[in-house]
Symmetry: C2
Amino acid sequence: MPLSRQKIAATAIRLADAHGLDGLSLRKIAKELGVGPMRLYDYVINKSELLDLMVDVVYARIAEVGQRSGWRDTVLAIAHATRDAALDHEWFSDLLGGRPHLGPHALAVGEATAAALSEALGVPDIDDLQRAVGALNAFIIGAVRREVTERRTTRFTGTDEAAFQASLGPYLTRMLNTGRYPTVARLVIDGAHLNAEETFDHNLTTVLDGITSRPRT
Amino acid sequence: MPLSRQKIAATAIRLADAHGLDGLSLRKIAKELGVGPMRLYDYVINKSELLDLMVDVVYARIAEVGQRSGWRDTVLAIAHATRDAALDHEWFSDLLGGRPHLGPHALAVGEATAAALSEALGVPDIDDLQRAVGALNAFIIGAVRREVTERRTTRFTGTDEAAFQASLGPYLTRMLNTGRYPTVARLVIDGAHLNAEETFDHNLTTVLDGITSRPRT
DNA sequence: GTATATATGGATACACCGTACGGTAATGAG
DNA sequence: CTCATTACCGTACGGTGTATCCATATATAC
């Protein structure tokens, strides 16, 4: 059974899921596939192209949500699918926005969201559409990124308050006790753990409302 | 003149500005400072702490904008300062949102924006504030990230249309010519190069409008 | 002043990384 | 059968972050 870009990408994704992007190396992928490291270069020009490949595989899953009945449902579905994908493959959030996503499936997702937003804006000026797409994507990228890094730190730190205080505490609690960051302190301390998906959804609709309710240029 | 965290961070920033994060190594920093690589470990626990240090130096510059007359001006100033910093230090955008920013200056910036948003929301429920901060930061992170990667690709690709077609073209134009991505194609082709700062500002106010105009939970 | 403890700076070494390159085996053409 | 070309493969190079040991200088105790 010969190698292929698909198989390489698939095992690379498995390894990245298990050990993160830092724990991913061409040598390990090759070993996992039972070949010499250099064999991969017969299918991939360099490591960053492999990363692009992995990213596009994930976009394929996102693209599957397809079109919904209304533009808003479509956008919501895509955004949530992106978030879900990033939670399944945390390395994806590290790559998100870090390089142009030009793979076929990424383009398909881009097309779907752009078309939906175009519908949302009526017959929009192209500049308006450009801005709307930019705003939406910026929010998605940033929100997903934030959520993943937060999840990572709480994984290292432990979820209960005591463990949190113990690991981040020596430094962070000292900082917060200086009184120089009262609002942040309030957010950290009695900012309850509100549901992450709900927050994402809430903020997403906030952004969408902002985009659509804004007066024309 | 002995070493110090400040000096190490400063030369690390210089090198990262010049050659990017990938071109940054402890050995090069050490060589630049005229010391052995291991000396750096007397001041820094490992490379990622050094990165945190660099990030916080940049946040110090952002924090300098201080408080403006109204909450909205404050938020705008901070957001634009963040964008400016990221354009001056593109590696900053690579780190933005990728790890928790807990340095003193990062906390100061967080405090300033949280306080401003708190003022904007009246006497807000803490959950509302949490969400608002999340939405704003998500947008800033994503927008800055997008802009920097776009700037990088156009730097490699050349700015004029011909050079663009020539470098990305063989692949991208073929993709767009398939007709499967009509909206994206329209955006790429006759989406004029609209002013980046203006776009950022426009979308930022869109998000702020969304945050403030949204009915309470 | 001498001896001992302690801090300071340096070099070496390890495990790993991405990937350039050269050699070997297999395949097709004349 | 001979030759040329292609496909496969292992080795090796220059680089990385960092652990560890060693020498030297400085400070303290007698």
